[in-house]
């Protein structure tokens, strides 16, 4: 895979280019999008973005894990995990490397 990495900076730069707000406000709005999504997930809501994918929160029960290196048993407490299920459109675009 390419080793190029996008960050918040590239996303706000794209918003700046597309919408023509100030760089500052563009960056703030990108942050707003991420924190609104995070807040909804923390409340236990599903976040469903059409043609992108679905983020959902799942409850995992406690179980006994094992340190694969030492074989030692370690208790894993119950916890909530986030899963992302990409949409068909995203899967298709990523799998073929094609543009929309």
């Amino acid at each position: 895979m390419s080793d190029k990495t996008l960050t918040r900076m590239e996303l706000s730069e794209a918003v700046f280019r597309e919408v023509g707000l100030s760089r500052n406000e563009s960056a703030e709005l990108v942050e707003t999008v991420l924190s609104l999504m995070s807040d909804a997930l923390v409340r236990g809501e599903q976040v469903k973005i059409s043609s992108f994918g679905t983020f959902s929160v799942r409850d995992k029960n406690a179980r006994i894990g094992r340190n694969p290196k030492t074989g030692e048993e370690v208790p894993i407490t119950r916890r909530r995990v986030l899963t992302f299920r990409p949409s068909h459109l995203m899967k298709e675009r990523v799998s073929t490397g094609k543009r929309a």
């Binding site: 390419s2 996303l11 563009s26 709005l29 995070s38 923390v42 976040v47 973005i49 990409p86 799998s95």
Partner: protein, 94 residues
């Protein structure tokens, strides 16, 4: 929460922005992420999570109904790993 609700909340909180601009902002964010992954790039959003692309090699699969062997071509699949801050927040820390 769905895309249109996300747009609505941001529009309500930012009365100085046109609704259509808020739509473009939100759409741009998701489009940029998808576009980057389509190019095989990684998207790292500290605290939230990281999107990356994994290579799945070609393999010999099997039709579960008929048992017939079918070759599955190699492909690239999107992958998301939750960021530490969000993982902690989901579990009531910080």
């Amino acid at each position: 929460m769905i895309r249109s609700e996300l747009i609505q909340i941001i529009a309500d909180d930012n009365p100085h922005l046109f609704q259509r601009d808020v739509e473009r902002i939100v759409n741009t964010v998701f489009e940029e992420i998808t576009e980057a992954m389509a190019k095989g790039e990684r998207v790292e959003l500290r605290g939230f999570g990281a999107f990356s692309v994994k290579q799945r090699d070609a393999r010999l699969g099997r039709n579960p109904r008929t048992g017939a062997a079918v070759s599955v071509a190699s492909k690239r699949v999107p992958f998301f790993k939750t960021g530490k801050l969000l993982r902690d927040r989901l579990n009531g820390k910080s």
